[in-house]
């Protein structure tokens, strides 16, 4: 749920990058951080293990939009993908306004993608949130690798709701900003509609 600060005229939204371990969530944020204008973003904070695995979360604040005189700031978060860190994932997911589900396109990780999506739904359910109510999109990452599954098969496994999907190669920065941009659009749209309907 976005928070509004009337004193500073800011709307803060939380976007979470979710997905199985090593699928490229942190890489997405690193690309955004490295390519975004310095005046639009702050420093990125990473809590990682020595093996470069996300231990708690990565956080990148960016501010890029304005609604009725209010600056919209997006806090981009990633979750640790490893199965054992579910408590942390659940905590980071709390209050999310939008989710990017980053799926690994490699054949061998299809099962992990399916499990991670189920885990996302289960964790949201604990906050009484349904994916039907929360803007989220799919990013099929690592499309440049050999032995990847076709997108139609990934759609079958992961995208029963027909949400927008984007192919990406996060290490090269491909698809990263499109994914972010589309999610921001949906979040802003949802926000404006909730303002107008008075349900905010």
């Amino acid at each position: 749920m976005a928070s509004i600060n009337y004193a500073t005229k800011e709307i803060n939204c939380k976007l979470v990058y979710y997905g199985p371990g090593m699928c490229g969530k942190t890489t997405n944020l690193q690309v955004i951080h490295s390519r975004l204008d310095a005046n639009k973003r702050a420093d990125m904070v990473s809590l990682a293990t020595p093996g470069e695995r996300t231990l708690y979360f990565d956080f990148l604040p960016i501010s890029m939009a304005e609604i009725n005189g209010f600056v919209v700031k997006f806090g981009l978060y990633t979750v640790p993908g490893q199965v054992m860190y579910n408590a942390t994932r659940k905590l980071v997911l709390r209050g999310a306004d939008g989710v990017v589900f980053v799926a690994d396109s490699q054949w061998r990780l299809m099962q992990e993608n399916v499990d991670s999506l189920e885990n996302l739904q289960a964790n949201l359910a604990e906050y009484n949130v349904n994916l039907n109510e929360l803007p989220y999109i799919m990013q099929y990452n690592k499309r440049d690798l050999p032995e990847i599954a076709p997108t139609w098969y990934m759609d079958y496994l992961l995208n029963g709701r027909g949400v927008p999907t984007y192919e990406a190669c996060a290490t090269e920065g491909k698809g990263v900003f499109t994914t972010l941009s589309v999610l921001c659009r949906f979040v802003i749209r949802d926000l404006v509609h909730r303002f107008e309907s008075g349900s905010f």
Partner: protein
């Protein structure tokens, strides 16, 4: 005290002070104590020398009472010397190996029960994570070391009305059940009923017992002896999606998408601030 006594007194002071200084190395109080002990012992040695040579004021072997004092002095000086040597040896050994006290101090510094603050490091701006081809997590293995489906897995029944076969590589079976290799000699693929795959398509990985796999291939066997025993037939085979997806008719993968509520909302002007371009926003 005669001249020899004085010389020995000076020599004693110098020798013992030197030994005490080396032993105490950079420690002022210990050096002072060493000097005082040296002075005292030097004096005692001069007394001993006077007694031995018969010169000086107290020839101990002539006058019994003074001789007794000199014997006591000899014993005390010997003990004192031994003490200093012991201290010197201790110091030398402490240089080669950390003393227990120092060790404990080091351990204390290394391990601290106090809460450690989280390390917050701003990410390096231009460093993109190195990507490696990830191996999937190890498949579930039962306590007996045999491959098993995930907890809560319910064995599937073949879907009725589904016909056709899927040929999976024999290596898929031997990867799950190495003991099956001898029964699959000369076979590159093994045929399995499509009806067994259909109910598991959504889960990506398909789990079958070898009995289910072998059902279609038994007719090819010449004798009963060629058949694996019941324990082996009840073992699980893990079929990864790439082994079967291309052989499953595409209609089984068609889904009727039900868009969520938020996708049905009409676009708003404010979202135009996010251009749909590949580059930075």
């Amino acid at each position: 005290m005669n001249a020899i006594g004085i010389i020995l007194l000076v020599v004693g002071i110098v020798v013992y002070s030197g030994v005490a200084w080396v032993a105490s190395k950079k420690s002022a109080p210990l050096t002072l104590i060493g000097v005082l002990v040296g002075v005292f012992l030097g004096f005692l040695i001069s007394q001993l020398a006077a007694a031995v040579t018969g010169n000086g004021v107290s020839p101990s072997f002539v006058f019994k009472p003074e001789g007794a004092v000199n014997y006591i002095v000899i014993i005390i000086s010997t003990l004192a010397t031994a003490g200093i040597l012991y201290g010197l040896l201790g110091w030398l050994s402490s240089n080669s190996e950390t003393s227990p006290t120092v060790k404990r101090e080091v351990e204390k510094q290394k391990f601290n029960f106090a809460t450690r603050p989280a390390v917050r490091e701003p990410a390096k701006p231009m460093v993109i994570a190195n990507r490696t081809v990830v191996k999937p997590g190890a498949p579930p293995v039962s306590p007996s070391g045999v491959l098993a489906p995930p907890e809560g897995f319910v064995p599937v029944l073949p879907t009725e009305g589904v016909f056709g076969m899927v040929a999976i590589p024999a290596s898929v079976i031997t990867d799950s059940i190495p003991e099956a290799a001898k029964y699959l000699e000369g076979m590159t693929t093994v045929r399995v009923r499509l009806a067994l795959f259909v109910p598991q398509l959504k889960k990506a990985t398909v789990w079958l017992t070898w009995r289910q796999v072998a059902m279609q291939n038994d007719s090819d066997r010449a004798t009963e002896n060629d058949r694996p025993d019941a324990d082996l037939l009840n073992r699980w085979v893990r079929v990864p999606p790439q082994a079967y997806v291309a052989q499953v008719p595409i209609e089984y993968f068609k889904v009727t998408a039900i868009p969520p509520v938020w996708m049905k909302q009409t676009p708003v002007a404010q979202e135009e601030q996010f251009p749909l371009t590949e580059g930075p926003l």
